[in-house]
């Protein structure tokens, strides 16, 4: 799981253009949206694309994303359980 979490942090920084951020800056349980990393609705959609492209998981209801993308921990858990 740990290597997946690191991988997710790297992908988030890369895909969402989080300039000036390093992997060390994101804690596993940091809130990704809202007050935490401050990601927005377009970032959520980008993460949905990433789930499909890199892990073969297709999300059809954008509202599901809210719980899945809460933190690196929740993302890693969901991917581990559902990856193609």
């Amino acid at each position: 799981m740990d290597s997946l979490k690191k991988e997710l942090k790297e992908k988030i920084i890369e895909n969402l253009n989080l300039e000036d951020m390093e992997v060390e800056d994101i804690a596993d349980d940091d809130m990704l949206f809202g007050d935490g990393l401050g990601l927005d609705s377009i970032d959520a959609l980008e993460l949905i694309v990433m789930l499909d492209k890199d892990y073969g998981i297709k999300l059809t209801d954008p509202k599901q994303g809210k719980s899945i993308f809460e933190s690196i921990n929740t993302m890693a858990k969901y991917i581990t359980e559902n990856r193609a």
Binding site: L16, N17, E19, D20, I42, D43, E46, V49, K53
Partner: protein, 205 residues
Amino acid sequence: MHKKLYIQSYCHIKNNQLWLNGKLVFEGDQDNNLKDFLKSSYRDQKLHYPKFFKMDNLSKLSILAADLILSEIDLNKFDHNVALIFSNKASSLDTDRKHQKSIDDADHYFPSPAVFVYTLPNIGIGEISIKHKLKSENGFFIFDEYNAKFHHNYERLLIKNNKSNAVLAGWVNVDEEVYDAFVYLISENGNLEHTEQNLIKLYKE
């Protein structure tokens, strides 16, 4: 009522240089591509606006040009009622190509929402509105080249008819590595009269 209008300030962004009111304020590395030049300008101008990095090149250029001018202005003096009237030739073609590329291969396509939202030329002025909290009128026009006559007329009418208290306007064009920005603020303050000739003169500077 005949209001006398002035070009309160103006800026140019071209040749990897930032110019404000005729003075060079920053010169980027001449070897830099546009993306890197925009990044180094962002740092030099201390924008402190992380959303900048999510934008496409056209929006980044629009925000930079707007910031050069608006950072010296107290928007409260205009009640935040500053209209945005911009134009260009390439529309959002630079970003359109990126989106097109992402949907080319029917077997392996992953269109990016973050790219698609920028496939319109007016998103840049939307970004300016968000950053500076301007809920004023904004329009985006496509011309073959900077049309001073059109701009002069539109800007004058907006203030004359009390639709806005000032107008941030100009030409922001990006097409791969070819780019050009000429942005200015029209208001009742200043020394340089708002005329078509003066706009052309400044554009050519």
